[in-house]
Each structure stands twice: as structure tokens, then as C-alpha cells.
């Protein structure tokens, strides 16, 4: 089975968006374009911050995973979320196929356990070998300042796992708010995962949190890449 390329946008944030369009709406738009949106909410050690509902809503609309974690456990979460979202994407494609063949109610989970195990093995093979395009969109508003070292470490950790994969992966790093725009590209598409952590900026931008517009702008990066691919073919 040719799975094409798995496209993911990973949003790292610590709270509510406060300006521009609804981020969940933008995530739904991404999903329609075949891009899964995952969200990790980074909270203070004290526990519950506001904006947690929004985090879940964005991931739900974007067909991806959401987690709320403390900065200390960010590393493992970033890796797990990326991995689970990849298998999630593959499963949802399989489910669609199943519904096409059998009936509307069918999905992998309604099959007998032995069949599920066989499917799981195939899914693992595919997710290990498929091409991955991962765009990391990081919130750099003032409140993130203390969390940036953890983000940098998590990106390093993610790059270690990605480099050990069999399939090809490309990465891009965006941050928001940008100087002139809602978001700006820090690292353009590259196959060198280690660049994510190496050139991670350490300065916060402060001010507003335009999560919705930031997702919209970052998405343009995927779309441009598609156009580029089409041209090159």
C-alpha cells in the first residue's frame, strides 16, 4: 500500500489564543487538506491553567492528539504524540477503506483481536517507512519564556527519534507571534532534524497569542511545498 506522505503540524503552546480567527477552525481546515494537527499544552508546575479546553478542541478539529504536560515531561510527550498521530492517520485511512468495502459502521476496532494484531503489524511497518513532513509551530509569547529550554530539549529528543526512523522525514520550524506577521518561519523545510533544536531561538516575542492566524500561515508552508512537488514532477 502506498501511503504517500504523512503531514503533521505540531503546536506547542501554553494557553489561550487571544486574537484572530478560531484556531480550531483553522485546524479543521488543515485536516481537510490532509494535514493532522497535534497540540501539546505546556502548563506551570502548579497545575491547571486556562486554555486547556481550547487545546483539546484544536486537536479534535485537526484530527490529531492533544496532551497537557508540565515542562519537565515535554520530551517524551512530543515523541509519543508524533508517533501516535502517525499511526492514527494510518488507521483512519484503513478505516475509510474498510467502510468502503464493508459498511458504514465498520472500523478496525470492531474486528476480531487476531485480525487487529495483523493490521497493527502492517500499520507499524507503514508508519516506520512512510515519508513524514512535520511542521513544529511554537508559541513564543512572553509567558513561554521559562519553558523554552524544555522546548529546545524536546525538539532535540524528537530529532533523535526521527533520525532513527527508516522512512524519510522533513521538518520545519515556525514561531508565533512574528515580528510583522502572525507567525514566521524560522527553519524552512529540511531533512536534517537536528537543525530544529540547534537553531531554536531563545528570545520570546512577547505580546499577543494569535494561535489561529499562526496556524493559517504555517499551513501555507505545506501548501507551497505541494505546489513545488507538483512542479518538479
Amino acid at each position: 500500500m502506498n501511503m504517500g506522505t504523512i503531514k503533521q503540524l505540531l503546536l506547542l503552546t501554553d494557553g489561550c489564543s487571544n486574537t484572530g480567527e478560531d484556531p480550531a477552525m483553522m485546524a479543521a481546515f488543515a485536516r481537510r487538506r490532509g494535514i493532522t494537527v497535534n497540540v501539546i499544552g505546556i502548563v506551570q508546575d502548579s497545575g491547571s491553567d486556562s486554555g486547556l479546553d481550547e487545546i483539546e478542541a484544536i486537536a479534535k478539529a485537526g484530527g490529531g492528539e492533544s496532551r497537557i504536560v508540565q515542562a519537565a515531561s515535554l520530551s517524551e510527550t512530543v515523541v509519543n504524540v508524533t508517533r501516535q498521530a502517525m499511526t492514527g492517520t494510518i488507521y483512519s485511512i484503513i478505516n475509510e477503506e474498510l467502510r468502503g468495502i464493508l459498511n458504514k459502521e465498520t472500523n478496525v476496532e470492531s474486528l476480531p483481536p487476531a485480525v487487529r494484531s495483523e493490521i497493527a503489524e502492517k500499520v507499524e511497518d507503514i508508519s516506520e517507512e512512510a515519508a513524514l513532513e512535520l511542521l513544529v509551530l511554537t508559541d513564543m509569547s512572553a509567558s513561554m519564556k521559562m519553558k523554552l529550554p524544555a522546548v529546545k530539549e524536546a525538539l532535540y529528543d524528537l530529532s533523535m527519534t526521527m533520525q532513527s526512523r527508516i522512512g524519510p522525514s522533513s521538518f520545519s520550524l515556525w514561531t508565533f507571534p512574528g515580528k510583522y506577521n502572525a507567525a514566521e518561519e524560522r527553519i524552512g523545510w529540511t531533512t536534517h532534524a537536528n537543525k530544529l533544536a540547534e537553531s531554536f531561538p531563545q528570545l520570546v516575542s512577547g505580546g499577543i497569542t494569535p494561535t489561529g492566524p499562526a496556524i493559517r500561515q504555517a499551513l501555507s508552508s505545506f501548501l507551497e511545498m505541494d505546489e513545488y512537488d507538483e512542479k518538479s514532477v
Binding site: T87, P113, R116, S117, A120, M160, T161, S164
Partner: protein, 296 residues
Amino acid sequence: MKNRYDARPGDLIKGKWTGHVWQVEREIGRGANGIVYLVKGKVGQAALKFADSASVASETNALTALERVRGTSPGPFFIEADDAEKKDGIYPFYIMEYINGPMLHTFIKEKKKEWAIILLIWLLNFFEPLHKSGNVMGDLKPENFIVASRERTIRAVDVGGITKFGRAVKEYTTLYDRASWQAGTRKAEPSYDLFGAAVLVVALVHKELVQKALGRPVELEGIVQSSTALQLITPVLIKAFNNEYDSALAMKKELLLCFAKKSTMKRTRKRKRPFSKKWMVFAGAFAAILTMFLLH
């Protein structure tokens, strides 16, 4: 996990596909991706793990892969996978052999620190067949291993990290992860497990020091060099930190060689100082344990 099946002692769990009924005795483990209960069914005591459908399926595969290794599995024997139906949804689970015994860190608590060396040998025995099957353990935290002391073996109770050679390790714990130590990749290969096993053994003895050193392999070597409990096997540990072993067997051989050197040293010393009886008893005990392994 969003919706878990929270069972209480006495609850009956009925499998949708097999019709088998399992009675919950108590909870025995809880992790990021599931809950494990000790249950009783027609076949006797077993362990039941609830997890999401994808995890159940992939762990089932890992367990059956282990069983192909040889007669006895380095992990629990897989019994069956099934679904529990409840009003609010379907909860996938699987049943496996219940392995009774202390986890690595609890085991060492009641013993002398030098036991860490014995545990390392047992761990290497565990890796040998696993690696032969083309898989690594991946997640090397002490909670994932149980000492089945009667058979003098170590067995895995969590197989979520088991990964085929050549792929990116599925699950890991930072403290025992080669990449987090900046000492290599996260690619599944024997040296990944051997690195982790070496760290695990040092951490069993000097947990806090190892935690503080995370990310700086030089400091890790320092801990080993100044440790009296691990003195005997320092060169082997350091070679493992540098990824110099590509098989568990090679590492085990050198470990045993370290012991051999030590016992000849003891013998020469004995002639010079016949009064150190206490030491002789020690060496004798060690040698006895050793010969048992060698015979094993």
C-alpha cells in the same frame, strides 16, 4: 488515556469474543498506556491489561514474537486478546501469564550492592534470545523487569518498548536511553540495550548520582570509576557506555572474565595473608554463585 476501564476487586470481566470470564483480584500496575490487573479465570491466575486497541494489538505481537524465541519466553506468555463491552463503550484488553517476583529495584533493596553485578549477568542472559529474535527491549526501566528468583532469571513484564532491529525505539525512559545521554542514536540494535543495561546497573546502586549526570557520559564514567560496589566490572561498563559491544554474549564473556581475574587475585593474596578469612568466605560464595551460572 481518555476513557479507562476502572475495575475493582471482585469485578467480573467477560470477553466479547471468547466468552471467557475473568475475576479481578487486584491492580498490579498502572502506566501511561494502560492498567494491569491480577485476575483469576478457568486457567488460574493471570495478568489482564486494558489499553487502547492499537496498543493491545501491537503488544500482542511483541509477546508472540518473544515466544518464538525458545521454549521459555523472556516475557510473559500471551494467552488471549479480547474486548470487554460496557454501556459506555468497548474496552480492549489482553491476558498474559502472571509473573510473580520483585522488580529489579525492589530486589536489590534487600541485598548487598554487589548483587547489581549478578543482575547484569541475568539481564544479559535475558537479552541474548531476545536479540537473536531480531528485537530490542527498548524501555529499560527497572520496573519493567521481574526477578523470577527460583529460576534465577529476569523476565520482562512490560513489552511496550520492544522494537525490531533497524527501527526507532518505540518506548524508552530517559535515564536509560542512549540518545538522551548523547551517546548514540535511538536506533534499535543490540548496543542500544547493552548501553541501557549498563546504565541501569549503575543506577541501581547510585540512582541519584546517575540522575544528576544525565546527558554527560563523562560524569557517568566517573561514577563507575569511583564506585566500590562496581569496581570489579568497571572496564566492562565503560565499554558498554562507548557502544563497544555488539552482542550480549560478548559482554557477558568479558564480565565473567573480570570475575576470573578477581578470584586468582584472591588466591595469591590468601597465601600472603592467611588471616583474612572473612574475605575467603566472600570469594568462595561468589565463586559458588559463578559456577552455578557457568553451569547454567
